[in-house]
C-alpha cells in the first residue's frame, strides 16, 4: 500500500507568514446574521453606470471576445495616457509605459514582484489596504510598517519614513486617499516625502485608486511631483471611480523599464485583462464623467452625514477628505476594535470593520464605509448610538 500524505507539508513556507485576512473572519460571522446594515463594504453601492454596461453587452454581441495585446488595447492605453497628461500633467508613452491589469490587485502584485529581490524591505504605511503586506511577503520581500496617527490626520511624515529606512529598503507603498482612514496628503506633504525618497534612492508604489473621490482640496498624483515620474509605479483603476469592481480592470503607469518588467510577469500569469472589461473602461473614460461627478457629490454628502453623526454619538471621527470611509475612534468605550465591531453586530446588527484589520495602527478605530444609501447610514447611526449608550 502506498503511504498517505499530509498535503499541508507541501504548502510553501513563506505563506505561513501570512495570517488569514481579518476581514474574511468577519465575513463568516456576518453571513450568519440577517437584517444587518452593512457599513463594511469596500466597494461602491452603485451598479456600474448603464452606458458602460450597455457598451459591454454591445461588444459581446459584436463578437469582441478575443485576447488583446499583453499591455491591453492600445486605444485604452492612449486614453489613460491622455487622462494623466491632462489631469496631472504627467506624460506616459501609451506604447510602453501603460499596462492594463485585472484590478489594482494584480497591478500591485506585479509592481512588487518586478522590483523586490529576496530580503528587500518594502515600507508599508498603515493603517492601509489589506493586500500590501501579504504582497510583499509573496514576493520574498520583508514588509516594514509605519503607523500613522489620527493626531496627524493619518498622514505619514518624512521623519517617520526616515526612521525605518536602512540599506535594505527598496520601496514605499503609499495610498492616498487612504483605505481605511479616508486621509489625503496635499502637495506640500508629498513633496517632503519625495525628498526622503530621493535622498535614499527608493521607489514609490502609489496606489491612487481613490484619486477621483477627493472631496476637499485637489488630489496630487505622486508621479507628477518633480523628479518622481521615474521613481513611481502609479496604480489606478476603474473599480471605485466608475463602480466597476466586478469587471476587474485597472492599470499601472511607470517608466518603460519598470512597466516592461511588470509586463513580463503579466504576460505569463494573466496574458491580458479581459477584453470586455477593457472596452467598458474605454466607455467609462469616454462618457463617464457626468455620472462620476454625480456619484462624487453624493459620496460627499454621505461623508458629512456620517462624520457628523459619529461625532455626535461621541465617537471622535477625524474628517476624511477622500475615499468612502469614516474611521472613528472607539477608544472612549474602552473596547478593542474587534470587541466593539463584534458586539455591535451582535447587539444591533450593524457591520463595521475593526480598524486593526488594516494594521496595528488601526487598533482603537472602526472602519465605517459610507458607500451605502443615506437611509441606511442614518439607520446605522441610530443603532450605533443605542449601542454606545448601553455600554
Amino acid at each position: 500500500m502506498r503511504t498517505q500524505c499530509d498535503p499541508s507539508c507541501f504548502v510553501a513556507d513563506h505563506l505561513k507568514k501570512v495570517p488569514p485576512s481579518g476581514i474574511r473572519r468577519f465575513f463568516d460571522i456576518v453571513c450568519e446574521a440577517d437584517d444587518v446594515i452593512s457599513l463594511g463594504v469596500g466597494e461602491p453601492d452603485y451598479i456600474t453606470p448603464w452606458h458602460i454596461r450597455e457598451s459591454c453587452i454591445h461588444s459581446i454581441e459584436q463578437g469582441e471576445t478575443s485576447y488583446t495585446s499583453n499591455y491591453g488595447l492600445l486605444e485604452l492605453r492612449e486614453q489613460i495616457s491622455e487622462l494623466f497628461s491632462k489631469k496631472y500633467n504627467v506624460e506616459y508613452n501609451p506604447e510602453s509605459e501603460v499596462l492594463v491589469t485585472t484590478g489594482v490587485s494584480e497591478a500591485l502584485d506585479l509592481a512588487i514582484r518586478a522590483i523586490v529581490n529576496p530580503g528587500d524591505e518594502v515600507i508599508v504605511v498603515q493603517p492601509s489596504y489589506v493586500a500590501y503586506v501579504p504582497s510583499v511577503i509573496f514576493a520574498g520581500g520583508v514588509p516594514v510598517t509605519i503607523s500613522t496617527k489620527m493626531s496627524n490626520n493619518f498622514k505619514i511624515t518624512p521623519e517617520e519614513l526616515k526612521n525605518v529606512i536602512n540599506e535594505n529598503t527598496k520601496a514605499v507603498v503609499l495610498n492616498y486617499p487612504n483605505n481605511p482612514t479616508g486621509a489625503t496628503m496635499d502637495k506640500a506633504d508629498l513633496e517632503a516625502i519625495a525628498d526622503v525618497v530621493v535622498d535614499n534612492d527608493l521607489m514609490v508604489i502609489s496606489d491612487e485608486v481613490y484619486d477621483c473621490l477627493t472631496y476637499e482640496g485637489e488630489h496630487t498624483c505622486f508621479s507628477s511631483l518633480e523628479g518622481m515620474r521615474n521613481r513611481t509605479i502609479l496604480l489606478n483603476g476603474f473599480s471605485k471611480s466608475y463602480a466597476m469592481t466586478g469587471f476587474r480592470i485597472a492599470y499601472a503607469l511607470g517608466d518603460s523599464e519598470i512597466i516592461s518588467s511588470m509586463m513580463l510577469i503579466h504576460q505569463y500569469t494573466m496574458l491580458c485583462a479581459p477584453i470586455v472589461a477593457q472596452l467598458g473602461a474605454m466607455e467609462a473614460l469616454r462618457n463617464g464623467n457626468d455620472e462620476l461627478d454625480k456619484m462624487i457629490r453624493e459620496y460627499d454628502r454621505r461623508r458629512n452625514l456620517i462624520v457628523d453623526g459619529l461625532n455626535r454619538i461621541g465617537l471622535e471621527c477625524f474628517e476624511p477628505k477622500g475615499a468612502f470611509y469614516a474611521f472613528p475612534s472607539i477608544q472612549s468605550t474602552g473596547m478593542t476594535s474587534s470587541e466593539f465591531a463584534e458586539n455591535l453586530l451582535d447587539d444591533q446588527k450593524v457591520v463595521t470593520i475593526p480598524g486593526d484589520v488594516f494594521g496595528e495602527a488601526g487598533q482603537g478605530f472602526l472602519r465605517c464605509s459610507y458607500a451605502t444609501s443615506k437611509d441606511e447610514i442614518q439607520e446605522a447611526l441610530e443603532r450605533i448610538e443605542t449601542f454606545v449608550n448601553k455600554t
Binding site: S21, V41, I47, A131, R297, E298, R302, D308, V351, I353
Partner: protein, 163 residues
C-alpha cells in the same frame, strides 16, 4: 453654481421633504445658512415647486393618460404662445410642449376613462380654431417619468463585507 447650492438642489430634488437640519448635516453648513440659501433659491425661482410623486394606480384611483400630437395653423401676429396658453389652461392638460418633426405641439391629457379623454380631445382640443389635426396615443403603462423609474429599483448584489 457653488458647491453648497448644488448639493442643496440635488438633495431636494431627490427628497423635497429633507429637513434643513438634515441638509445641514449633509453639507456641513449651519442650519440658518441652509435656510437662507433655500429661501434665496425659492425667491429666484430656481426652486419652482415642491412636488410629490404619487402612484395613483397603487392608491386605487385609476387615471388614463394620452399623448396628443397637434398640427396647428398659425394666424398672423399670433405665435405659438397663444395656442399654448389656450391649451395649458385646461386642467385636464398635464403638459404642453412645442416640438419639432411632423407635428407642432404635443400635450398630455389625463382623464378618468378613455372615453372621457377621447371626448375631451374631440370637444375641447380638436375644435380650437388653430388646431388643424390631432393624433391621440393612449398611454398603456408608464415605466419611467421625469427620471423616476416606477419599477422596483435595481438592487446591487454585494458581499456584506469586503476589503
Amino acid at each position: 453654481m457653488d458647491k453648497h447650492t448644488w448639493h442643496i438642489l440635488e438633495i431636494l430634488e431627490e427628497n423635497a421633504r429633507a429637513t434643513p437640519e438634515n441638509i445641514a448635516s449633509q453639507t456641513g453648513l449651519p442650519v440658518a445658512e441652509v435656510n437662507d440659501i433655500i429661501s434665496k433659491l425659492e425667491k429666484d425661482k430656481i426652486i419652482r415647486k415642491y412636488k410629490t410623486i404619487i402612484d395613483w394606480e397603487q392608491a386605487g384611483e385609476d387615471y388614463v393618460y394620452a399623448i396628443i400630437e397637434l398640427k396647428v395653423v398659425l394666424e398672423r401676429k399670433q405665435g405659438y404662445q397663444t395656442i399654448a396658453e389656450r391649451l395649458y389652461k385646461f386642467p385636464e392638460v398635464r403638459s404642453v410642449r412645442l416640438i419639432s418633426g411632423d407635428h407642432d405641439i404635443s400635450i398630455t391629457v389625463r382623464g378618468r376613462s378613455m372615453k372621457e379623454v377621447a371626448f375631451f380631445v374631440a370637444e375641447k382640443i380638436a375644435t380650437l380654431e388653430q388646431v388643424h389635426s390631432t393624433s391621440t396615443h393612449f398611454v398603456l403603462k408608464t415605466y419611467k417619468e421625469d427620471g423616476f423609474i416606477f419599477d422596483e429599483p435595481e438592487k446591487i448584489k454585494r458581499l456584506p463585507v469586503s476589503p
